[in-house]
């Protein structure tokens, strides 16, 4: 049981149970405001009946339509530990995909740590496939090596031939992605 509603600034004060997760980044205020100003419809929060925040998705639409690269992007998706295994992430992804469909996107993409097997498998179940590997996309702060990311994609209905998800043969460097 979940209320899905637009994320608001006041939610920033209540999302600790979601963001104290080690793989969930807490960004500076500007980062959230940029998304709220530009793509408010893509920033959705799930709330439990008792008022606890359960999880949220933050995304955007970008890319050139002419080059058939106009797409929805998942910037952050996180669910608090106690609300996992309810299919909530899948529901939030479904919503982001629907918004992207409405905007006429060709595909939806996202980046995920190659080590984050739980997430990679979940995205695979949701129909995403690895489009390319981005070398050392995640910079580590504590002296550990930087980590690679998978750029995973799922074609939307506008991409009838599913051209957007044909995997690239070679990994790319972060500076080569748009």
């Amino acid at each position: 049981m979940t209320s899905l509603r637009p994320f608001t600034c006041d939610d920033l004060f209540k999302f600790n149970n979601i963001n104290l997760d080690p793989l969930t980044e807490t960004y500076g205020i500007p980062f959230y405001l940029q998304y709220l100003a530009h793509w408010p419809e893509y920033f959705i929060v799930a709330e439990a009946p008792g008022g606890e925040l359960m999880g949220y998705i933050m995304g955007k639409a970008e890319g050139s339509v002419a080059r058939e690269e106009w797409h929805g992007h998942v910037t952050a998706l996180s669910v608090a530990p106690e609300f996992r295994r309810l299919g909530l992430a899948a529901k939030l992804m479904e919503m982001l995909e629907e918004i992207s469909e409405r905007k006429g996107g060709f595909f939806v993409d996202l980046f995920v740590r190659v080590s984050n097997q739980v997430a990679v498998n979940m995205y695979k179940r949701l129909g995403y496939s690895v489009y390319r590997t981005v070398i050392e996309y995640y910079s580590a702060s504590n002296g550990e090596p930087d980590e690679d990311a998978y750029d995973m994609r799922k074609a939307l209905s506008r991409d009838t031939e599913k051209k957007s998800i044909i995997p690239l043969p070679h990994p790319v460097r972060p500076e080569d992605i748009e």
Binding site: L33, R85, K103
Partner: protein, 971 residues
């Protein structure tokens, strides 16, 4: 740097290297290059501005500002200069100057879309709504693009929102905005979704719900496509406001059919049912029930609807949704509240909850779902309920210890849920000591058994059985608070440390460890724990209090400064950051977000925590400065601290602390209440006021703590003195009043739940007498000012009075120091005992001694010239043998006593240090726990021991530094 004008411009080529230097942070080279260029091209204004940017970034603000003003007065109209000046003024935090810049530019180039648009944004940055409205219209007249028109409309809405007079909003700004939009609607010029959103915002604020509904449901509403269910949600809100319950009911039904898990529509569905029942509503004889379709206006219909949803879920092969099952309990709860006959309820609460558990007991959120409805059970049913649930938990064979364990993670989760529910029903709390110890044993066994399911977990993942560990720690804490047995808290710490070793990312382990260490007076381990939480940005505001509440009061001053700095850095960037996104919201037409962003900015600026760290950071700086005489003056100047100014928004302080960050399964009567929250905020505010007044009074002891009255003229000097003394009186009387309020608050002895807000230092500060002594010391400055004007000759009464205060200060300090004596940590009856309050008292003593010494130094400053002039007089009279004036003797006694007090304190600390070092923790026998557990517990003890030593050292060092400067107080 951003756009650089036209490509062909030769100036661009000349300026490029400077831009590059600036971009690369090479400010010195940028300045040099600009100078070189300016030698050849004197009138290349932009080069001057770029030089100014370089100067600004190398800390030469004044030079930079002068140079920028030079160019500004020329009213430049070239893109390069304008952009560079905009950047510079923003970096200088002078956004208002940008508006002047573009006002001049549009006057000279009245048809420039670009400059007009920059002007609009410049106004937006400083919140000049009326001027924005005009600038938007001016833009629209030059280039009739819709967004410009609606910028102007939105600026009217902002005038309405910010107007102090609600009537003005309702009768002028909003109606005007409405007419502006209506005009576009009539002319069929509405293009974008944002424009409809804005129209809706206006109508809603005007309370014109019927009109708003018409817009949303009509053709304009069709433009609302980006946000999912935007139209539906808006309609629902309007139906509720209009009390159109049939429509509300019918729409809720439709939406629930579509997504029976969407909680937000169940309340509307149920509310509307009861409203319709109360109105004895009945459907029309023919035709639709209402414009949204058919209406459920009887309990039977609604029950049937919910049960049908449940049937659908029951019949599904895939995952069932919790929504309908929870909705049934919610309905039950509401029916009961209305006094609906028990026999007609759609089922029996106990059975429904057991059924819910059977279906969803293996989900971690089952407890969160069920705990809302536990009140549906009667107290007699509690045990029966838990027994029935336990039967639905498949466990394996009983082992040696008498415990049966789950065979898979789903059973584990079910078993865990039963434990959580037992705790939430108060069944843990009602156990006696041995029952609780047995429970702990069981939870620990389950915890360790469950680790096998996560043997391959990554270190970023939690262990399936972590919650057992956390709960066992909670039961230990129950025992600790109930019986005062310190071993319970040691074992709790040990267990949590053990848990963290298996599950290094568990934030709840870290939070609870952090809290317990603080409660034991040990701040040192907290630093690493908190930093491993990786709390950043807004989290400094929401959970930063966990650090700042304890660091200073536990004598870890360096860490305290650092914690304040983390938070301050975040708050200071907020003002500039939010403005930029308000502008972006205009650009992208996210009009709804604009008031939201402004509210966020205010919420952060008015944050209680912000005001606290601002104040405490300055106090800390003062306390930590070693040199009493010089540094107070200099520090006050460096902090631009002024006794006149109060920058704390007392009436609008916002408590942004996340007080529910700790996981907690306590029964309702033990949970944090709104009353606790109110009391905590009240207590925090009063404590903050005491600290802030103390700070301002300290500033008033210095010359630079007074901003005005620095002129040379005789008259203004006199005024200055007058102002100073009346300000002093006012601050002191505020302090006294606040102390009275504080005493009343302390009397209440509010007990917060352990996992709720920590109490402030207020009660201890009063009970040790630190506030009173500080106030008495600060009060002294009034008498000293009187003495300054009266002189030493004819002021014996005043001098006696002052001497009495001196004596009383010494007595008070001695009493405080006595309350620091005792053993911070000791071994007694094979238990390791601690008295963290002794450490806190020691810190109060240090703070108070510092304040007394500052007033003493102020005293010395006043007495010295008086004494000198007296000696001169005496020399003339050849009366050198006469006795010293009373106040001088008294002062010498004071400094002597202070010296003595400091020596005592330092000796006490030395004694504590050697006592703690001599403790043989290894000799503690740890009965009843395994060797492995004992090692974690010992590790926790070591941390506390180490932390005490560090605190003692920091406090001792500070006292020693203070002692060294006493000799400077001689007169």
């Amino acid at each position: 740097m951003a756009a650089r004008g036209h490509v062909q411009d030769p100036n661009d080529r000349r300026l490029r290297p400077i831009y590059d230097y600036l971009d690369n942070g090479n400010n010195k080279m940028a300045i040099q290059q600009a100078d070189k260029l300016l030698k050849k091209h004197k009138d290349l204004h932009c080069a001057k501005v770029l030089k100014a940017i370089g100067l600004q970034r190398t800390g030469k603000q004044d030079e930079a500002f002068a140079l920028a003003q030079e160019v500004t007065t020329l009213e430049p109209t070239d893109d390069n200069s304008l952009q560079a000046l905009t950047i510079l003024y923003r970096e200088m935090h002078r956004p208002e100057l940008v508006t002047k810049l573009y006002e001049a530019a549009v006057k000279k180039v009245p048809l420039s879309e670009e400059y007009h648009s920059h002007l609009f944004m410049a106004y937006a940055r400083v919140g000049e709504y009326k001027k924005m409205q005009q600038a938007g219209m001016a833009l629209y007249k030059i280039v009739p693009k819709n967004p410009y028109y609606f910028w102007s409309v939105m600026s009217l809405v902002m005038q309405a929102i910010s107007a102090k007079d609600e009537k003005l909003s309702q009768t002028m700004f909003l109606p005007l905005a409405e007419r502006m939009v209506e005009k576009m609607v009539k002319e069929e010029k509405i293009e974008a979704e944002a424009e409809v959103q804005l129209y809706y915002m206006i109508l809603e604020r005007l309370g014109k719900c019927e009109e708003a509904l018409e817009v949303i449901r009509g053709p304009l509403g069709e433009k609302l496509t980006s946000e999912l269910q935007s139209r539906e949600r808006k309609c629902m809100a309007l139906y509720r406001r209009l009390e159109r319950w049939p429509e509300c009911n019918a729409l809720a039904q439709k939406l629930l059919l579509k997504n029976p898990d969407d909680w937000q529509f169940y309340p509307s569905y149920f509310d509307s049912l009861f409203q319709l029942m109360d109105q004895s509503w009945s459907p029309p004889e023919e035709g639709d029930h209402c414009s949204e379709g058919s209406v459920h206006h009887t309990v039977a219909e609604v029950v049937r609807f919910v049960e049908e949803r449940i049937k659908v879920e029951d019949g599904k092969d895939s995952r069932s949704l919790r929504g309908p099952y929870l909705a049934r309990m919610e309905l039950m709860h509401r029916l009961r509240e209305r006094g609906y006959p028990e026999e007609n309820l759609p089922g029996e609460p106990l059975a429904l909850m057991v059924e819910f558990f059977r279906k969803f007991g293996d989900k971690p959120c089952c407890i969160t779902d069920l705990k809302i409805y536990l009140h549906l059970l009667s107290p007699e049913q509690h045990v029966q309920f838990i027994n029935q649930l336990s039967e639905a938990v498949p466990l394996g064979e009983q082992g040696e210890e008498g415990f049966a364990f789950p065979d898979d993670t789903k059973s584990l989760q079910r078993h865990l849920c039963v434990c959580q529910l037992s705790r939430a029903l108060g069944l843990h709390h009602s156990l006696d000591v041995s029952g609780k110890l047995r429970l702990i044993g069981e939870l620990k066994a389950h915890y360790r058994h469950g680790l096998k399911f996560g043997s391959s977990a990554l270190k970023t993942e939690l262990q399936f059985s972590d919650t057992y560990c956390l709960m066992a720690a909670h039961v230990y804490i129950d025992l600790w608070t109930d019986t005062g047995d310190v071993d319970m808290v040691w074992q709790s710490l040990g267990l949590l440390e053990e848990g963290l070793s298996h599950s290094p990312s568990n934030a709840q382990f870290k939070l609870l460890l952090l809290l317990l260490y603080c409660r034991l007076g040990a701040f040192e381990p907290v630093v690493d724990l908190y930093s491993s939480l990786d709390a950043k940005h807004i989290q400094h505001d929401t959970i930063g209090f966990l650090l700042t509440r304890y660091a200073e009061s536990l004598g870890q001053f360096a860490a305290a400064s650092q914690s304040c700095n983390f938070s301050l850095r975040f708050f200071h960037s907020n003002q500039k950051d939010t403005s930029e996104y308000i502008i972006q919201a205009y650009k992208y037409g996210a009009f709804e977000k604009i008031p939201e962003f402004i509210a966020l900015r205010n919420r952060l600026n008015q944050s209680l925590h912000f005001a606290q760290v601002r104040t405490e950071r300055m106090l800390l700086d003062l306390f930590l400065e070693a040199d009493i005489i010089l540094s107070l003056e200099e520090s006050v100047k460096a902090m631009s601290l002024s006794s006149e100014e109060d920058d704390i928004p007392w009436d609008s302080l916002r408590d942004n602390r996340d007080l529910t960050v700790f996981t907690n399964w306590d029964p309702k009567q033990r949970q944090l209440t709104d009353e606790h929250r109110t009391r905590s905020l009240e207590e925090e505010s009063v404590w903050l006021r005491i600290r802030s007044l103390t700070l301002r009074l300290l500033a008033s002891l210095t010359a630079s703590g007074h901003t005005p009255s620095q002129q040379n003229s005789e008259i203004s000097n006199e005024n200055g003195v007058g102002d100073k003394s009346s300000l002093l009186h006012s601050l002191l009387s505020q302090l006294n009043q606040t102390l009275q309020t504080a005493a009343r608050i302390a009397e209440k002895q509010t007990q917060y739940p352990l996992l709720g807000p920590p109490a402030t230092r207020l009660a201890s500060a009063l009970s040790i007498g630190s506030c009173q002594c500080q106030a008495a010391a600060l009060q002294l400055s009034v008498h000293l000012q009187e003495l300054e004007s009266a002189g030493l000759d004819e002021s014996s009464e005043l001098q006696t009075q002052i001497c009495n205060v001196f004596k009383s200060l010494v007595v008070q300090l001695q009493e405080m120091l006595n309350k620091c004596k005792g053993d911070l940590m000791e071994m007694k009856e094979s238990k390791l005992k601690t008295q963290p309050s002794l450490l806190e008292n020691l810190v109060f003593f240090v703070e108070t001694v510092s304040i007394v010494m500052w007033t003493a130094s102020y005293c010395a400053k006043i007495l010295r010239p008086l004494k000198t002039s007296l000696q001169k007089k005496k020399k003339k009279k050849k009366d050198a043998n006469a006795a010293l004036p009373l106040v001088v003797c008294g002062f010498q006694e004071l400094t002597g006593s202070l010296q003595d007090l400091l020596t005592q304190a330092v000796e006490h600390i030395r004694g504590q240090e050697s006592g703690i070092l001599a403790l043989k923790l290894s000799s503690l026998s740890m009965e009843g726990i395994s060797q492995e557990e004992a090692s974690f517990t010992k590790a926790a003890m070591d941390k506390v021991q180490g932390s005490y030593l560090r605190s003692l050292q920091e406090v001792g060092d500070l006292l020693k530094k203070r002692a060294e400067t006493i000799k400077n107080l001689k007169i």
